[in-house]
Every structure is written in C-alpha cells, then in structure tokens.
C-alpha cells in the first residue's frame, strides 16, 4: 500500500478551506499550519500564467526527516505515511532542517509537528480532512498500489508534476497540470 495525494492545479481556486479544515481537524495551534496554499505567477503582464497549489508534507518514500531523526520519533507507518511520535521527539530540529519543503515546525509543546495525511481518519476508511472539505473537489487521495483508487485513476489520465523531485526524496504529493 502506498498512500498518495493529487492536487488539481487547474481546479484549485486558493480559497484556503483545506488549511482551515486541517487546523480544525488536527487542533493545530493558532498561528501555525500543516498545509498552505501557494500562488505561483509566471510571465509579464498581460501574458501571465497562474498556478495555485495546496501544499503539505510530501510523505516522501525516501524521507530525509526519517533518516536524520536521532531517536526514531519520525517514522513510516502503513501506506508510507510519515509520522512523529511526540513522546520520542526531543525537538532537536534535525528533521526540520532536512526537509526541502519546510513542511515541519516545532509545536509550542516542544515536539515537531507536521501533516499526518490525517492518518487517524485514513485508517478508518475516511479521506484526509483537507480532501473532504475542498469545495472544488480538486484533491484526490488513495492507494497508488490499487489501480482503481481515485488517485491512481486521475494520475493515469492527467499530466502531473511533483515538487523538487531533484532533492531525491521521491515525494508522494502530485500536482495535476
């Protein structure tokens, strides 16, 4: 099993609902976020191209954060989801420095926090909160090893890209372009 997420940059309007849903679902402390929306503008007026992306932890297959963690607090669980066990985390910041996506942050309680792909929902057959709440249905989530999953089907049909694959982390967040 390999969980992955696809975000349709042609459908995303950048409303930020995913960000709020995540903060509510996961009790993210005020002033912090586990996911965020990026607007990328390329060109010179009036020839401008806009791409909007909802970004979060890429749950990489070759996660530098898991590799750098000195205690094993950062680890993989079923489906390749990368999680942090707060009671194992010393808050040294090695994983934060190692993430090319800057997806992690030190939680006010001390441990390092990040997107969990809503593992607590996913293991019960639900989708992550951000995916569920998206008003334009621009996000797809599922098992890449299952050819009939939503995410497998959309990745077969559409062109996609991943962010900075040259960092060598094999990220599992796909952006439909």
């Amino acid at each position: 099993m390999r969980y992955a997420m696809a975000v349709d940059t042609k459908k995303c309007v950048g409303c930020g609902d995913c960000v709020v849903a995540c903060q509510t679902e996961n009790n993210v402390p005020i002033g912090y976020c586990r996911d965020w929306v990026v607007e990328n503008t390329v060109g010179t007026y009036p020839q401008l191209e806009l791409e909007i992306r909802s970004e979060r932890c890429n749950h990489c297959n070759n996660s530098p954060c898991v590799r750098c963690c000195p205690t094993g607090a950062s680890h993989y669980v079923e489906g390749g989801i990368v999680l942090v066990t707060p009671s194992d985390c010393i808050g040294c910041g090695a994983c934060i420095a190692s993430c090319p996506y800057d997806a992690r942050y030190p939680h006010p309680d001390g441990y390092v926090d990040k997107c969990t792909f809503c593992e607590h929902r996913v293991k019960n057959g639900q989708k992550p909160a951000c995916v569920d709440v998206c008003p334009t249905h621009c996000m797809y989530f599922g098992d890449l090893d299952d050819p009939n999953s939503e995410v497998s089907k959309i990745l077969k049909k559409r062109k996609y890209k991943r962010l900075i694959p040259e960092a060598g982390t094999d990220p599992q967040l796909y952006f439909l372009i």
Binding site: I52, A97, P100
Partner: protein, 313 residues
Amino acid sequence: MIEELITSGRMNYKIDPQLHIWGWEIPFYLFLGGLAAGILYFAAYYYLRGREKEMPAAIKIAPMLTPFMLVIGLGALFLDLHHKPYFWRLYTAIKLESPMSWGAWTLMVVTPLSIIWSATYLREIYPKWDWKFKWLYSLETFFINNRKVLAWIMIFFAVILGIYTGILLSAFNARPLWNTSILGPLFLVSGLSAGAATIMMMSKNHLERNMFSRMDLVLIGIELFFIIHMFMGFLASTQVQLEAAKLFLGGPYTLPFWTIAIFTGMILPGVLEFLEIRGRHIPAYIPGLLIIVGNITLRFIIVYAGQASRYLY
C-alpha cells in the same frame, strides 16, 4: 518574472519567512566540540609518539580544558532542544543513518574519556591534589597503567567527533550549502587548527610552541584549500548550489565570511605564524586568539547561511 506567494499566510515559528531552527547553540557547540576534538587528538597522538616530556601542554595541560568544553557544549545542545524533558530519548536508540544519533553517542564516549585523561594528570599538574578515597587512587593507577589503550580509543573518537561536527550539516540535502561532503574534513581540520592554537597559547615551552605554530600553519593551508575546493565544487554544480555559493560571493554573508572568518581568522594568523617561524617575536596569543575567533565565525556563518540556502521553489 516568477512570483511565488504563500497566499494562505504560512508563518510557522522558526520556519518562515526563512528557516532559523538553529540559533547560536548549534554553531557554539560545533566550535567547542571541534576544539575539544583537536586538543584530544594531539594529546593522544603525541602521547603515543612518546613525546610526554617535550609536549607537556599538549598532553597534560590543554586536555584539562576539554571536559569543560564538552560539558558546556552539551549544555548548549540541551538548550537548543525544543522538547527538553525527552532529551534522554537520544540514548534509547542508535540510528546509524542519523549523524545526530551517532554524534550523541560519540559525545557519550568522548566526554568521560576526556575527564579520565585529565584526571590521570591532575596530581602531576597540581601536586597537592588529594583524591580523598582509596578506590579513587587505585582507579587512577589503573588508568595511568593503561594510558596507551586510553590514547588509542581517544585518538579514534577525537577524529569521529571532529569530523561529525561537519557531517551533521552535510547530511542535509535540503540545504545546498551544507550538502557537500567537504564540510566534514573542513570542520575536522579547522577543529585541529583551533586545538593547535589553544595548545600553542598554553605552552610555556618554546620548542612545543614553535612546533604547534608550524603545524597550525599547515592546517590553515589545508583549511584554505578545502574552502577553495568547496567553492569550486559549488560553482561547478547545479543552480541550487550556485545560489548557495552566491551567499558568499556578493550575497549577505560576503563581508563577514571573507573578512572575519578567512582574513582575520586564517590568513592573518597564518602570516603571523610564518613571521614567528622566520625569527620575529610574536606573542603566541595573538595568532592563537585570531584563529579561535575565525573558527567560531566560520561555524556561525556556515550554520546561519546554510539555513538561508534552499531549493528553488
């Protein structure tokens, strides 16, 4: 034109607008760890070469400082942790892929080793010192009789400690400035240079001082070679490493790096040591202190600039 904005307003503490997860504690520790590693390396090396009489500062006196350096360094590392009550978790796991893990274990070996090494010379330096308990005297005799074994273990772990201060950073492929394997050898040599400078400053023996002065000159030469090599590597590499090099070649770190770390911390003391070797009288603490200042600056700049270097996004 390319403009990229986080429109949902991400402003995570210590992450945005630019990564600054590591403050003064880490470079301060890297300096102390490298310095202690340098001193312990020379102590063990010259002990094994049988130079105990000619090198009192290197073998007996300077190592007395290392337990304090390591303990203060460990204290700084502890201050840096965000989840302090769980620090002991470092010692419930051994993760070979994580430099921080084996670095923590190395410190666990080197710190007691430095204490034992200094303790075996304590009564020689302070003849009035009294261990108070009989078993401490017998322990002392045991370690004095086994100094050779201690020295072999110490030389091995001193090199690991010295090189680890650089490898810790070079393991992060997300920060292109750090992601160069030359950083390990560079920090090792710079730690050895700081160690040699400290011994030079503490030595009262002219021959020993002269010898470490010469050695420092060679080490500075190697350091400069590594730094030039590092920039050659960056400039011949991908866009992200070109951007990393630009931080020092016209970017915000240009002035402090080239004036303090390189000129004041390496070239100037190098010239002074050269003049000393040529017969001019130069007080040892002038090049010594300059080297220490350069060493601290180098580590601060590399740690801070590394956090400013990132993948183009």
